[in-house]
Symmetry: C2
Subunit: 532 residues, 2 copies
């Protein structure tokens, strides 16, 4: 087993200058661990970002193939620690080895998938308009445009995905793929897991001959660590996965900098699910099983957890909700990540129940006597109550489902139109309900990042076409995704080269097209070289 | 001639509820015009944005071809007013009919160019990953992703481009092309020109059968009008071209909304120009002519005005600067746009001269006795003074050139590295200086949106490959461009469709590829249909 240091990693060097420390907490026993982790100091954070800026002077010139090889090496170094990582993360998060095994595979596959994107190479969006020296009234210059990396990126780890949205998760992988150095702010819920990943990434950097400043990791259980990092003048962007409150605080800090920088914060969602009456009739029981499984997956601690279910008011719906409530109650409550999530959920559900117009059908209380745990909870309101009560629109981060009954499909559409930005929106319907569902799908389209038909929102495929994002408050950057190959675009920006001599052009923009990438040349998509 | 109303246009209806008014001012005589223009009230602004949101329910479904036809119609309606527009804009801005004639052609060509982009259709970035039902351990769902329009956009007109960056300029054209309704905040410097464009756009909307709320225009010479617009809850994004102070105020307001929205503010730049010693020797006189012409074009009121020139300290450079100063003095100063720009320039130059370490070689004073006018101004500092004095990094918006002499090429690189984000960076060099210039080009690449070799930064081609943007403070959104075809992306966001029935899929994502667009299908770029 790796011996934990409890230190921060500043450009490859372990460092613990600070005196404030914290420990892991075993969610199953609520007992603190033995290793003291040191909050990073302002000086350590400054060294980390400065080293990242210095490293960027080199890495910004690295060809995509070299970055791709690095990502493969990082994946391999992580795989070497697979058993240790799963054991440690299970101790720190209680997510269970089955889930964590899958998540680790997803994490290393994600690194390798970005490598493949880089080797194909067209992600730089090369666009070339060649000169038209004889154009009247003025000649057209030669203009060539491509995406370049933006520079040092801060990544805030999520608590609920200690692998896939954490130290070497999607934000880090996509920033590395872009050629950007990363400073990870480890989540205080799993500092030991963070340190193990850090060791793997530092190994990959050494093996690859990358500058040590390409990656740093700072620990911290205080707001100050994150704030100091976001305020650093040499930082260029922030990736964040977590709560609305935390994400908004970071967004505000970044917006108030003398030089504002973009914040790509994914802040969760209530993920509305519409169930059309035909599906209740055709496959109600299967739907109850699937939905309850999705709502309780990982103790409901998913940003894509289906927290809101809209159905037409009817006796069949009443029976469906009753059976769903029984199914939720029958499932064993799972241990949650930490004390803050447990108490936050208890507080939010209590506020919701007290806010009026909502019936508590099951749960609504902390499960005492063991680890952090909250009872599977089902609530119900009618559409009028939902539309008039903002509290019912809040995310209940955990195994909580709110049913909203609607008088008609039109009432359901109006109810959907009252909802804020969401990561996902789902409709369950039968083939003969497709046209009825069209206006509902449309209402969802206007406020979500991903639409799902006859599925559950949990389970976010890492692929080219994935869109994990959405209008605020789902994210602070609706034009971007934090999952899938397009996530790389967050950490790049376009530059145009006007009449630049061939010797000074990047390979992606050279006439010969040495990278054989797809380009837009004089408005045509082509991989052909340009004849001078 | 069109009879001016002095009113706002709210979803096609002229409206003047407010009591605060302002007039055009003839920059050549400093005399106010006769027509009173009414500041929009909060109620008018609310009606405009609400109508835009209502219109968007229809326009978001319009096929690209219909939007393209509308853009062509808008261009044609504007062309019908060509002579009147040029006459009116010349009266309000004193930019001269030659410049305005070219700018109007650019403006209508820009609308038509977006139409061509829409007809080609691939701009929606369709990406399709088809289902893998047999994949282990879990099947892959069918996921299809494309860009959709975001909704109502506010566009703040610039003073210095009354056509190309104003009512029907690049921001409006790209938002319309995306399918987004637009509310233009007219610049108070040219309200009559704004009203003429508004009439043309309203005609185009009527002819095309678009909902009237697709376009509104609000006038205003107060900060309140813009602030009220940016705060409107139904607004989705802002396009702005203007000063750093104005752009930052709008950015801050948008960031502080309960629901923040993106602000695409282009705020100007000092546009560094490097002149290598070989070019001084090889073509010094031609360079002086070209540079002085660029620096004084439109009275220097270009966001791409070359305000900073870096040269190696030498007797040849001294002679070059002396001849450049003579050339600037010999050129007739031109009338500037308005009193605020004239007084702002006088104040900034005075602060710069007073800040120390800089020699005033020519100009530095208002030209009195006629219109708004400022003398062609040349200043000089050494690199040490420039690097240590932040005032020398400020934009002097007008016909002002600051020379900075450097001790060596390395000193020049360090000096470039001290500069903030810029729209453009230019190098003049001879063929045998390309390798010497490489580190300088690299330093510029890290801080500009467009690199230019042996040219001038003024003159921004509207093409696919154009990038008019750059790191803050050049813009608030370095990942975007406000000129060229890619400007459309600012007003779109991605949505993923997971297992959505074919009948509910947009055309761009259907198996048959009825739009014949280029798509990424299972990681391959192709226009081929998908075989089910």
């Amino acid at each position: 087993m790796t011996t934990l240091t409890g230190k921060n990693s500043i450009a490859g060097n372990w460092s613990a200058e600070g005196t404030q420390t914290f420990t892991s907490v075993d969610p199953r026993t609520r007992q603190p661990g033995k290793v003291q982790f040191h909050n990073a100091t302002a000086s350590e954070i400054d060294r980390a970002v400065s080293a990242a800026a210095e490293a960027f002077r080199q890495t910004r010139h690295y060809p995509a193939s070299r970055l791709a090889d690095f990502l493969d090496t990082a994946a391999a170094e992580i795989e070497k620690l697979r058993d240790e990582l799963i054991e440690m993360a299970d101790y720190e998060t209680a997510l269970g080895s089955t889930r964590l095994t899958g998540e680790l595979t997803r994490t290393t596959n994600q690194l390798k998938a970005f490598g493949n994107l880089l080797r194909e190479g067209s992600y730089v969006e090369a666009i070339i308009d060649t000169a038209l020296p004889d154009r009247q009234p003025l000649p057209r210059p030669d203009i060539r445009r491509m995406l370049i990396p933006i520079g040092p990126v801060a990544v805030f780890s999520a608590s609920n995905f200690p692998f896939a949205f954490a130290t070497a998760g999607g934000d880090t992988a996509s920033a590395f793929a872009a050629g950007c150095p990363v400073i990870v702010k480890g989540h205080p819920g799993h500092p030991a897991t963070t340190e193990l990943f850090t060791a793997a990434l530092n190994n990959a950097i050494n093996i690859s001959g990358f500058p040590a400043g390409f990656f740093s990791m700072v620990q911290g259980d205080s707001v100050e660590v994150g704030q100091t990092l976001v305020k650093h003048p040499l930082l260029e962007a922030v990736g964040f996965t977590g709560s609305l409150r935390g994400g908004r605080a970071i967004y505000d800090t970044a917006a108030q900098r003398p030089r504002p920088i973009p914040v790509y914060a994914e802040m969760g969602s209530i993920n509305p699910v519409v169930i059309m009456p035909g599906s209740v009739e055709a496959r109600g029981d299967a739907l109850i099983d699937a939905l309850a499984a999705s709502a309780t997956l990982g103790a409901g601690q998913y940003c894509t957890n289906p927290g809101l279910v809209l159905m037409l008011d009817s006796p069949d719906t009443d029976k469906f909700i009753q059976r769903y409530t029984e199914a939720m109650t029958a499932r064993e409550p799972q241990v949650m990540l930490n004390a803050a999530i447990e108490s936050g959920l208890a507080r939010t559900v209590e506020q919701t129940v007290r806010s009026g117009g909502v019936d508590l059908l099951a749960g609504g209380e902390t499960v005492t006597g063991g680890g952090f745990c909250y009872a599977h909870t089902v609530m119900k309101a009618d559409s009028a109550a939902f539309r008039s009560n903002p509290q019912l629109h809040h995310e209940h981060f955990g195994p909580v489902t709110l049913f909203v009954t609607c008088a008609s499909l039109d009432d359901m559409r109006l109810t959907l139109e009252s909802i804020e930005g969401q990561l996902t929106g789902t409709i369950h319907g039968e083939d003969d309900e497709i046209e009825d569902a069209r206006p509902l799908l449309q209402a969802l389209t206007e406020r979500v990042g991903r639409l799902i038909w006859n599925g559950v929102p949990t389970g976010v495929e890492v692929s080219h076409a994935q869109q994990h994002g959405g209008p605020y408050p789902a994210t602070t950057a609706p034009w971007s995704t934090s999952v899938g190959m397009m996530a790389i675009k967050r950490f790049m920006r376009p530059v145009a080269y006007q009449n630049i001599p061939p010797a000074l052009l990047p390979d992606a923009l050279k006439n010969e097209n040495p990278l054989n990438i797809l380009r837009i040349v004089n408005s045509e998509y082509t991989r052909e070289p340009i004849k001078p």
